[in-house]
Symmetry: C2
Subunit: 245 residues, 2 copies
């Protein structure tokens, strides 16, 4: 892990860009975090494209820093400055065509888009976790928040260092993930936008039902994909404070 | 409205029993509430039986008082010390038999149980509201919380003094209420226990979908009817603080 730049946001948060091999990433730490007072970490998931998403990610990072958390994110394979990934781009185009035509998105399209992303990105997040937890000012426990829900599900199953997750039911879910969902045992807080245009509401409810964990909460709010109300973000922050502090 | 007793809970809350005609009720006010500093009011709904439910109701009242709210409740028709109501008792017994036999609860049973309760109790809550808002230490805005969800829906539609409601999806809902739900325009916070044995989950989700209001949130948690986690109660309290303060 190589830090490539550092800046201070409002004197409260230190933002450092890094590369992990050829994967770009960003780490935000509260200015108060130190070797003698390390802070817990939240991995910030996203749909891919760090540049475009920067304002939203930095906003989440600032809020988390105010709650005493470090946050970090890495670029998804095939997105942003990383090499293009034609197979996934093709599946994404197929999905867009189906949605625009008002047709159901087939299982084949969903699998072709999501499963390769999960397979490739989850080990990358785990490698990032290795590097981040080696920093003296960052410590466990670790949370995962948002992004492609199937990546969050797989991480929750395979990565024992993640102790709690906020998942955003905002992307289609391959059938295979429902079986994995039964294996999740960490506390979950699931956000669902009731009128999300790029999401199958019933599948999101079925996935929530499938999660094997004993503590799971679904927060559904009126509105589309990007309309998560501010109070819903605050409730998610309270969930992390309950479980990671 | 006649006060029949008064006691202080932990010096912080004044609890007064009252009767409104022949309907018993309880009012809790923060000790700090006064003519010069009146407090907003939350009506505490419940399934009927004030004596049996007193510990839970008083617990909710204490929390609300700490947040600066007065709370009040009245007995439901046919429950507690009020005259028995054979028709509703019969419908309740029919429902119990169906549930114990593992059979679906028919629309007829649900209607026979819920609709008379709604018809009779809603005007009683409105009369209580008249009396409570006439007290100098109690003021608007008013919230409604919990209890039989169909009573909450009807109150939200017909009673303009209620500005926000926390509804508990913990009882069966007659079909007619779905149409009323579309007429609700106040902010709603709906609690759903995912494994509630005396509730139809799909109907609860359909009801949430039907609500016509622009701000509605569903909080679903794992567990049975009485297993609402503490953090879910706190989220409901924050909803009232957002809307009634």
């Amino acid at each position: 892990m190589h830090f490539t730049s550092e800046q201070s946001l409002d004197d409260d948060v230190i933002e450092r860009a890094f590369t992990l091999g050829d994967i770009p990433g960003i780490l935000w730490t509260p200015a108060s975090a130190s070797v003698s007072a390390p802070v817990p970490l939240i991995l910030l998931g996203h749909p891919g494209g760090l540049h475009k998403l920067y304002p939203r990610l930095a906003g989440r990072a600032r809020h988390s820093a105010a709650d005493g958390f470090a946050t970090a994110t890495i670029e998804l394979p095939g997105s942003g400055e990383r090499p293009r990934w034609p197979a996934v781009e093709e599946a994404r185009a197929d999905m867009r065509r189906a949605l625009q035509a008002g047709e159901p998105v087939s299982d084949e399209i969903i699998e072709a888009l999501i499963l390769p992303l999960v397979e490739k990105s989850v080990p990358e997040w785990q490698a990032a976790l290795d590097a981040l937890l080696a920093l003296p000012e960052v410590d466990g426990p670790v949370g995962y928040s948002g992004g492609v829900i199937s990546i969050g599900v797989r991480l929750a199953v395979v990565e024992p260092r993640i102790s709690a997750a906020v998942l955003f039911a905002g992307s289609f879910v391959p059938r295979a993930m429902f079986e994995e969902a039964r294996q999740v045992t960490i506390p979950l807080h699931v956000l669902l936008q009731w009128d999300d245009e790029g999401n199958d509401r019933q599948a999101a409810l079925d996935l929530f039902d499938a999660f094997g964990t004993r503590e799971k909460t679904l927060h559904a709010n009126l509105g589309g994909h990007t309309g998560v109300p501010q109070f819903a973000g605050e409730a998610a922050a309270q969930f992390f404070t309950r479980h990671l502090k």
